[in-house]
């Protein structure tokens, strides 16, 4: 049952990634694209968690944690760039 749920979840997240990709591609505003990228990172974290459960392997946890941290930093950096040009004042 869990395996099936994981399969479904994987497909759902894959779909979500596709949707993110669509928004990223379409924009139209740069804010939309950054948002889409940020969401994509969150969804990739979800994928990693699912992959971890699928393989019964918790070694990927750090990757997810790091992704959470780093996704934030890049989102901020993109935003700061659009707001101020100079990301480090």
């Amino acid at each position: 049952m869990i395996a099936i749920a994981l399969q479904i979840a994987a497909i759902a997240i894959a779909l979500a990634l596709l949707l993110n990709g669509w928004r990223l591609y379409r924009g139209p505003a740069l804010a939309d694209r950054i948002l889409a990228l940020d969401t994509m990172v969150i969804n990739v974290i979800a994928v990693i968690v699912v992959i971890g459960m699928m393989g019964g392997n918790d070694t990927y946890f750090e990757a997810a944690l790091l992704l959470a941290m780093v996704g934030f930093v890049s989102t901020i950096a993109y935003c700061k760039f659009l707001l101020r040009g100079d990301i480090v004042e």
């Binding site: 591609y25 750090e62 990757a63 941290m69 950096a77 040009g85 480090v88």
Partner: protein, 941 residues
């Protein structure tokens, strides 16, 4: 040993002169003359034995691998040449003392002259043809320096360059010829080679050898059509001309022909190549000499003609002709050196060398005129001078050649050449010394002092002696030298002015009579010639050279356009070409048969995202910000791939590096154009796209081919098995990095450290100079929000910083056993600090930092290296790791590994380098902003 001393003397003198260049003129002349005289004395001491048939030899092993030894010998031919070189050298040195103005740097001049003398002596004494090549090239070089001695004069520089180009080029051909000769003869030892004439002439290489050697000899001896450099070498100071162009350098070619006569002469090819070249040169040189007006130029063409004569004689390939050649070498050396000195004296006294502006000097300079006239008589081949005897011998040999079945043109043309030489010789003397009085620029020229005139006296006396007492003065030497030339016993020698009435005497007389007539009727021809556009070899040569240089420059500039695109295109094209080459090997690049893994929907979607994102990056490359966003997507997909494909360490690294890279690019993009215009044309883009597609498909296919092959036993099974027991860690990747292949990692962190240093060096001065000005003039190209530090972000960062640092520590500590390690931890820490920079700005954050980047990098490298060295203390190899498990009460089992120290070094360097790059870059932006604000204030105020 006397040979070695003989060899070393001139070089030692050259060195002394160079070192003592600031010394007095007397000292200089003393050294040079002393060296020459000492050499001459050595030679005279050795002469009896050599002439009696026992050559002196000396050998010092030098380069056995090349068959090149310092092997010298002194045989009669060498004796003859060395005698000329030293004897005339001595006279020239004495003459130069009088000739050179007080202000001239005699030290340098004589140093070059002695260098040249040494090189010539080397040629004469070499018993190894490779050694001879060395001296041969040295004569080219030193004559370049001597001809160009008056460096301020354009004609001197050009003359020197031309001489170097022609004789140097010939020298290179000679190198090839000599090497082939050595190959064919099986030895580079001259004495050995001389005994292998039959072997060499039977070799298929013989024509090539002969052609190449002759190229060397003919260029050096100014044979037609390589003669043109010689007249322009007359830009040299007259002592140089007297030395190089009478007795020594130009004779080196003749010497070479004589030297190799036993090996190369005798064939038809030899005759046709050598004799005809000599004949044509003799004729041509004499003809031109008649119509030149510069004293030294006339002498130069005369020299060309006389050299042609000698070459022709050697080309006949008979012992008798060789005898004539040898005797003429002596004669020519004597009278031509005297004549050059004479021309120098006239030039010196009258201030001109133009024969048309001179006349009747006999009255003003009787001694000079007498000596000049006598020397000219020798040149014209008039009795009772030595020149007469050798000229007659030449005519006789030309006749013999015809009788031996060669063309009758030979004696005919030889006679014509003799006639012409009579004509130009007579003109040379009469126009200067007799007739209407004209004295050039000087009112009352007079005979010079003994230093200048003395050497001429000696030379003219010798020339007279060659005519009056030939057998006494020259006989033994000529006989022995001829023997050496032909490599056997010489024919009976009978040098005398009078051999009775014979065809040669008739030809000689005819030449004198017609020559005189020719001179009488010369004027109309000269006028006619003046009207013709002269075929000026110098202009041709200069023109050709200029054209070659210009074309070379165009080609070089065209090839080396400063286009990175071209560099990269070539590199990619070569790689693609190599790919095609590999695909064309038998069997090609087949895929393997290994079972593949099924792709999950997520994998397909991720792949799709990667492909699309790459496409967008390429398509939207000019929308730079957007391109960066899509680069992030690609990085994300790759990180996901690493997670999916069992590479957690890689995923962590990829994720962390990615964000740092993006930050870096954003920082740079701030100061770059955001949406630059399109550059390349459509065909160009299509070409690049095609290349890119091929490269992509090739790389992808190679990856596919490898992935579908079964894995062989890799060395990594050892790593797997030894990771825990031998390396003390279960994360095999990490143990590989800090243990099995720690040396790689040491190199890798050094790369990072260097990057940090280089970046600092790049950016530190960026606020000054041109870049600084541009930064000051920098204007924002996007509208900016006035808010520098958004509150929520700053607040969150205060919590995130310690949290992220904790995560970094965690990843560091567990790296040996679980995914993580020093590098990733350091990146996490760097990102945490960078976040603080982003939130609170450079100044605020930098003020609160405790450790600078420089010490971090330095300490990191030191820690890593010191850890490696630590193992030496325990007698183990560099970078040997050690670990142990310790039981600590309450805490339990704790592992301590030296690899941790190493990893600490890694982490220090990584933090240092990353922070260096980003902080410095952001600082430049900071300074730009600050400068802008200042500028704004100034304008508004």
């Amino acid at each position: 040993m006397p040979l070695m001393l003989l060899m070393v003397l001139p070089f030692a003198a050259a060195l002394m002169l160079a070192l003592g260049a600031r010394g007095g003129r007397r000292m200089h002349v003393g050294i040079a003359a002393g060296a020459s005289a000492a050499g001459l004395a050595l030679l005279l001491l050795a002469a009896p034995a050599v002439l009696a048939g026992t050559p002196l030899t000396a050998r010092i092993a030098w380069i056995p691998a090349l068959g090149l030894d310092l092997s010298l010998w002194l045989d009669p031919l060498g004796l003859l040449f060395a005698g000329l070189i030293l004897g005339i050298g001595l006279l020239v040195v004495i003459y130069a003392q009088g000739y050179l103005a007080k202000a001239e740097p005699t030290g340098r001049f004589l140093s070059f002259l002695m260098l040249f003398q040494g090189a010539m002596i080397g040629i004469a004494l070499s018993n190894n043809i490779l050694l001879m090549l060395i001296f041969w090239e040295l004569t080219s070089l030193s004559s370049f320096l001597l001809i160009g001695f008056w460096r301020d004069r354009a004609d001197a520089r050009q003359g020197a360059r031309m001489a170097l180009a022609v004789t140097g080029g010939g020298g290179l051909a000679l190198i090839a010829g000599m090497l082939l000769l050595g190959q064919a003869a099986g030895s580079y030892e001259l004495a050995t080679i001389l005994t292998r004439g039959a072997v060499v002439q039977a070799s298929p290489l013989y024509p090539a050898i002969l052609t190449l050697v002759l190229l060397g000899a003919f260029t050096k001896s100014a044979q037609f059509p390589f003669h043109f450099w010689l007249p322009h070498a007359m830009a040299a100071p007259t002592p140089v001309s007297a030395y190089l162009h009478s007795a020594t350098m130009v004779k080196a070619g003749v010497f070479l022909l004589a030297r190799l006569w036993p090996v190369l002469a005798g064939s038809d090819l030899w005759f046709y190549l050598v004799a005809s070249t000599g004949l044509v040169t003799m004729l041509f040189g004499a003809g031109v000499a008649l119509f030149r007006n510069d004293l030294k130029t006339i002498l130069a063409y005369s020299t060309i003609s006389q050299l042609g004569l000698m070459v022709m004689l050697l080309g006949f390939g008979t012992p008798a002709a060789a005898t004539a050649a040898v005797f003429h070498i002596l004669n020519h050396a004597a009278f031509k050196a005297a004549l050059f000195m004479n021309a120098g004296i006239v030039d010196h006294e009258t201030g001109t060398r133009d024969i048309r502006r001179l006349g009747g000097l006999a009255a003003l300079m009787p001694l000079t005129a007498t000596l000049g006239t006598l020397a000219v008589a020798a040149m014209a081949g008039l009795p009772p001078l030595g020149g007469f005897i050798s000229k007659e011998m030449m005519l006789e040999q030309s006749l013999h050649a015809a009788q031996d079945g060669r063309s009758w043109l030979v004696p005919l043309l030889a006679t014509i050449a003799a006639t012409l030489s009579v004509a130009y010789s007579l003109r040379y003397a009469t126009a200067q010394f007799f007739g209407r009085r004209a004295t050039g620029d000087v009112a009352a020229p007079h005979d010079p002092g003994m230093a200048m005139i003395g050497p001429s006296i000696v030379l003219v006396l010798v020339a007279l002696g060659f005519g009056l007492l030939p057998m006494t003065i020259a006989g033994p030497l000529v006989r022995a030298a001829t023997g050496a030339v032909i490599g056997g016993s010489p024919p009976a020698l009978d040098l005398a002015l009078w051999h009775g009435i014979n065809p040669a005497l008739g030809m000689s007389a005819l030449a004198v009579v017609i020559g005189a007539l020719l001179l009488w009727r010369r004027a109309p021809v000269a006028r006619w010639l003046d009207g013709r556009p002269a075929l000026d070899a110098k202009r041709l040569f200069d023109g050709a050279m200029a054209a070659i240089v210009a074309r070379s420059r165009d080609a070089s500039l065209a090839i080396h356009a400063p286009s990175l695109q071209r560099y990269l295109f070539m590199l990619f094209a070569v790689a693609v070409l190599f790919g095609i080459d590999a695909a064309l090997t038998p069997g090609g690049l087949p895929a393997g048969t290994r079972a593949t893994l099924p792709a999950s929907p997520v994998a397909v979607v991720a792949w799709f995202a990667l492909v699309v994102a790459t496409g967008i990056v390429v398509a939207m490359q000019r929308q730079r910000f957007l391109a960066l966003v899509f680069i992030s997507v690609i990085g994300l997909v790759i990180a996901l791939a690493f997670v999916h494909l069992s590479a957690p360490d890689l995923a962590l690294t990829q994720i962390a590096v990615e964000v740092v890279t993006i930050l870096l690019m954003l920082l740079a993009l701030h100061l770059l154009p955001k949406v630059p215009p399109q550059l390349s044309s459509l065909p160009r883009r299509s070409r690049d796209a095609l290349l890119a597609a091929v490269a992509g498909i090739g790389t992808g296919w190679a990856a596919w081919a490898v992935m579908t092959r079964d894995l062989r036993d890799t060395v990594s099974s050892f790593h797997w098995a030894n990771s825990y027991p031998g390396g003390g860690g279960t994360n095999v990747v990490n143990v590989t990095l800090v243990d099995f292949r720690a040396f790689d990692t040491l190199g890798e962190i050094i790369v990072l450290g260097i990057a940090g240093l280089a970046i600092y060096a790049l950016l530190e001065p960026a606020a000054r100079g041109t870049a600084g000005r541009r930064l000051r003039e920098w204007r924002h190209d996007m509208p900016h929000s006035p808010e520098r530090h958004p509150m929520m972000f700053v607040m969150a960062t205060r919590l995130l910083l310690p949290l992220a640092l904790l995560v970094g520590l965690y990843i560091f500590l567990r790296g040996h056993n679980q995914p993580g390690g020093g590098f990733i931890a350091a990146l996490v820490v760097s990102i945490a600090i960078l976040l603080q920079y982003l939130a609170s700005g450079f100044d605020w954050t930098d003020d609160r930092r405790r450790i600078g980047e420089h010490p971090l990098i330095a300490v990191g490298v030191l820690i890593a290296t010191a850890t490696g060295l630590g193992s030496l203390v325990f007698g183990a190899r560099f970078l040997t790791s050690s670990f142990g498990y310790f039981h600590i009460p309450l805490v339990g089992e704790v592992e301590l590994a030296t690899a941790m120290f190493f990893d600490t070094g890694v982490a220090c360097v990584v933090v240092g380098a990353v922070m260096m790059a980003l902080a410095q870059l952001s600082h430049v932006a900071q300074r730009a902003a600050r400068n802008r604000d200042q500028a704004d204030e100034e304008t508004s105020a």
